[in-house]
């Protein structure tokens, strides 16, 4: 919560603290601070460095691109994606690892982005729902099977479903039940989701073999 409050870029600058001065100041800090472990600069360092509590430059690999952001160590991966990288597909709902709305892939594994620090996610391959795009078989299957209502849980489900489907091309509706237990849909669209996953799993497999 604090992270988000802190990160919000919008709103009027505080008195005596202009945006220009802020940017200048942060640039100076960035130049003085080495990149954090997991980044390339690390190899030259000996012994563990201590970062923060103020903002530190970090490098995240998101959807195949290296992105640099400057965040405090307390900023979660979810807040970094949403508030610093403009990737708002992953949603913040519980912020406590109990709903799945924030699901992204980290090194291929479904991950609650609210439960990982951005600074600790360096050196890992992060994929968000944005990487899938509207033509992805899972996204298409969600549309065809009417697997959403309000849609707030949907990005998290689509990512979790894709991770599962890629590993389980011949899954059944029963398999899906258990595999997707880390995501909750308040609107109760589970029936459509189950069907969408089974169908998309077969298509993804076909795609991989083609």
């Amino acid at each position: 919560m604090d992270g988000q409050k802190h990160d919000r870029r919008a709103g009027p600058p505080r008195r005596g603290f202009t945006r220009r001065a802020f940017l200048k100041g942060s640039g100076a800090v960035a130049a003085a601070t080495a990149l954090v472990p997991g980044s390339r600069a690390e190899a030259q360092e000996t012994g563990p460095k201590i970062y923060g509590p103020g903002p530190v430059p970090i490098r995240l690999r998101v959807n195949g691109e290296d992105r640099e952001v400057k965040v405090e160590p307390r900023v979660t991966l979810l807040d970094a994606l949403r508030n610093h990288l403009n990737l708002t597909g992953a949603k913040k709902v519980c912020d406590r690892g109990t709903c799945g709305a924030c699901t992204v892939l980290v090194d291929g594994a479904p991950t609650y982005a609210c439960s990982m620090l951005a600074i600790d996610a360096q050196g890992r391959e992060i994929e968000t729902v944005e990487a899938l795009g509207p033509d992805h078989p899972m996204v298409q299957a969600f549309v065809e099977h009417d697997a959403l209502q309000c849609g707030f849980c949907t990005p998290g489900f689509v990512v979790a479903c894709t991770a599962f489907a890629l590993r389980n091309p011949n899954c059944t509706v029963e398999d899906v039940n258990r595999a997707l237990g880390g995501n909750i849909c308040r609107c109760g669209t589970y029936a459509g989701i189950r069907e969408a996953v089974v169908e998309a799993a077969r298509k993804l497999k076909g795609g991989a073999n083609a």
């Binding site: 012994g47 970062y51 509590p53 307390r74 912020d95 439960s115 600790d120 237990g181 909750i184």
Partner: protein, 322 residues
């Protein structure tokens, strides 16, 4: 979340050097699935967070003739996939596989599961581990205690949240703790303790100690876990039983029975163990052991139902071995 410093050491020794003499100085970060929530809720507010994720030596599972050693950073998912664990310790695999959701299993680690803090809602809301009211008296007996202990100890009414702990305790496993003074082994059964004040922790680990591994002796015990859950996913069990037995000549010659999620530590059901000893493992004995397991339960105003659930868990765990 309050601001904190972050470090990501490459070795256990470096990690220890970054820890301080009190819990406020530093907390260890493994998968983060519990620690981040604790910090967001201001239940813990360390000045420094020491990430273990670069310490590759903690990610190994090693098998020797006498012991299976599981590194603290092995995830639940890896545990359920490890053939060397599945073959010998189905009890542990059931417990790890039961943990909640793919997302938690992929990031939650063995060390983090054992050191996760209790889920008592009073504790998580800031009333301390002993859930003390403004009058200095415990809140749980007079509050909403539907998920609390049926075997409370002193003023501790929370339940130990770890699913792995009862399974490991039944298997006679130990945790390996490393500190500036060196290494020590503590049986999982003795890893948890009852805090006397809200400042004390519910485990014997000290602020400068890293849990580096769990060691399970290769004793060849038959073992099983049975979990009873209200919701299959995204929640902790209501009651579990983990059992480990040796049967020789048709008779039980050694028995360990532990209940989970019913007491502030994994609850050793010694009366159930005594009931099983020296007799064949049949339906009648199992029913008697299940009754014995919950002897002496002291349920609170809202959790009597857990007594029956615990007995049933014992019955089903034992039945799965015949």
């Amino acid at each position: 979340m309050r601001p904190f410093e972050y470090a990501s050491p490459a070795t256990v020794q470096e990690a220890i050097d970054l820890l301080g003499p009190t819990w406020n100085d530093a907390e260890l970060l493994a998968g983060g699935t519990d620690l981040l929530s604790l910090m967001k809720d201001d239940v813990v507010a360390p000045k420094r967070v020491v990430s273990l994720r670069r310490i590759t030596s903690l990610k190994r599972i090693e098998v020797t003739p006498t012991v299976v050693r599981i590194g603290a950073l092995v995830t639940m998912e890896e545990l359920t996939q490890a053939p060397e664990v599945a073959a010998k310790f189905p009890s542990l695999v059931i417990a790890a596989g039961g943990v909640t959701s793919p997302q938690i299993r992929h990031h939650g680690t063995v060390g983090g599961d054992l050191c996760q803090r209790p889920r008592c809602w009073y504790f998580r809301a800031g009333y301390g581990i002993l859930a003390t009211g403004a009058d200095g008296q415990p809140l749980v007996p007079r509050g909403d205690n539907r998920y609390h202990a049926i075997f409370p100890e002193g003023n501790a009414y929370y339940v130990c949240p770890s699913s792995l702990a009862p399974a490991l305790a039944a298997l006679e496993a130990s945790v390996v703790l490393q500190s500036p003074e060196g290494e020590r082994r503590v049986p999982v059964e003795e890893f948890y303790r009852i805090p006397r004040t809200n400042e004390e922790r519910e485990y014997v680990r000290q602020p400068r100690e890293v849990l580096v591994a769990v060691e399970i002796p290769n004793t060849g015990l038959k073992n099983a876990t049975y979990e009873i859950r209200q919701r299959q996913l995204l929640d902790w069990p209501l009651a579990t039983a983990s059992v480990a037995l040796r049967v020789d000549g048709g008779k039980v010659v050694s028995a360990r029975v532990f209940l989970g999620h019913v007491a502030p530590r994994p609850y050793r059901a010694t009366a159930a163990e005594a009931t099983l000893m020296g007799a064949p493992l049949d339906e009648e004995r199992i029913a008697a052991a299940a009754r014995a397991a919950v002897q002496g339960a002291r349920p609170l105003s809202g959790n009597q139902y857990k007594v029956q659930l615990a007995a049933t868990a014992v019955k089903r765990a034992l039945s799965s071995l015949i």
